[in-house]
Amino acid sequence: MNISITGVNKAFESRIRLGIMSALAVNDKLDFNTLKEFLDVTDGNLASHLTALEKLDYIMVNKQFIGKKPNTSYAATGIGKKAFAHHLTALEQLIRGVIE
């Protein structure tokens, strides 16, 4: 895992990955199109960030069919939620440290 001394997680350096984790932190699961709408990114861009998070086991992918249409939904894993919480704490501490 790539975590700096300050506790900031490199996986969340990209705003898009940060956005994905934020949305998944407050929703049980979200499908691809809904995420795309929230984040306002292209299909390819979103897909590559999702794959990166999936490789880290931060999110899990659930593929299923609704009628005949394939529907892919994403959910945060326990590991992912923990990593995200740590990252937020680190950000808070950094900001506070700089201000004080």
């Binding site: 900031v8 969340f12 350096e13 705003r15 940060l18 956005g19 934020s22 949305a23 932190a25 407050v26 929703n27 979200l30 809904t34 709408e37 929230f38 984040l39 306002d40 937020l88 950000l91 808070e92 950094l94 900001i95 700089v98 201000i99």
Partner: protein, 208 residues
């Protein structure tokens, strides 16, 4: 290495994404004001033109459904007010969502609707039962109570002020149930005046 400004922006992004993806924030304050005006208009017509007064129709003998012409007109009027308010809300909310670059239909919208649907459907069915039993006096207060419960239930997925609006409707509904002869008055205060005040407040707080 990122700068402090970047971290602050990161936190802001997290907060806005959490809110945007879990809360229904497209309801327009203006739609609330319009709903209040429709309700006041409806209550006025029911009272002045049709002479609808819950004390007058009061409690019929159980089982003897008294579906007089006046009552049918009032029910028709109430349905018309409901659909006008719903139509305006959907139209103005989809415009507001488009302005914010979002779609009206998202997971948060679905959560709000599901959470409102249960109390509303139960209340609606109960009201139909009461009408069929001649308990017309309780229809206005019951609609307030169940509407208030629906708002209270859905408030965790939208603006937090919706919770207070729900509680106000419930209190007015209970008062209307006790003072049955003032049922229509409390109904006009709840669905009319409270909506207008709430809509103006929301407009100034969030839409300027």
């Amino acid at each position: 290495m990122k700068e402090k400004q970047d971290y602050i922006r990161d936190i802001a992004k997290v907060r806005s994404m959490m809110e945007r993806s879990s809360k229904f924030l497209s309801l327009s304050g203006f739609a609330c004001i319009m709903a209040g005006i429709y309700a006041l208009g409806g209550a006025y017509i029911a009272y002045k033109v049709f002479g609808f007064n819950s004390n007058g129709i009061g409690y019929g003998v159980p089982g003897s459904a008294d579906l007089s012409g006046e009552l049918i007109k009032v029910i028709f009027l109430a349905t018309l007010v409901l659909f006008l308010a719903l139509g305006t809300a959907i139209f103005l909310s989809s415009r507001k969502a488009a302005k914010r670059g979002e779609k009206l239909w998202n997971p948060a919208t679905k959560l709000v609707l599901i959470n409102m649907a249960v109390p509303l459907i139960v209340g609606g069915l109960l009201i139909l039962v009461m009408i069929s039993r001649g308990l017309v006096g309780l229809v206005a207060p019951m609609s307030l109570i169940f509407y208030g419960l629906a708002l209270y239930n859905a408030s965790q997925f939208t603006y937090e002020e919706v919770r207070s609006l729900g509680l106000i409707q419930i209190v007015l509904g209970l008062l209307g149930a006790y003072f049955v002869s003032y049922g229509l008055l409390f109904w006009a205060i709840g669905l009319g005046v409270a909506h207008i005040v709430y809509g103006i407040y929301m407009h100034y707080r969030y839409e300027r």
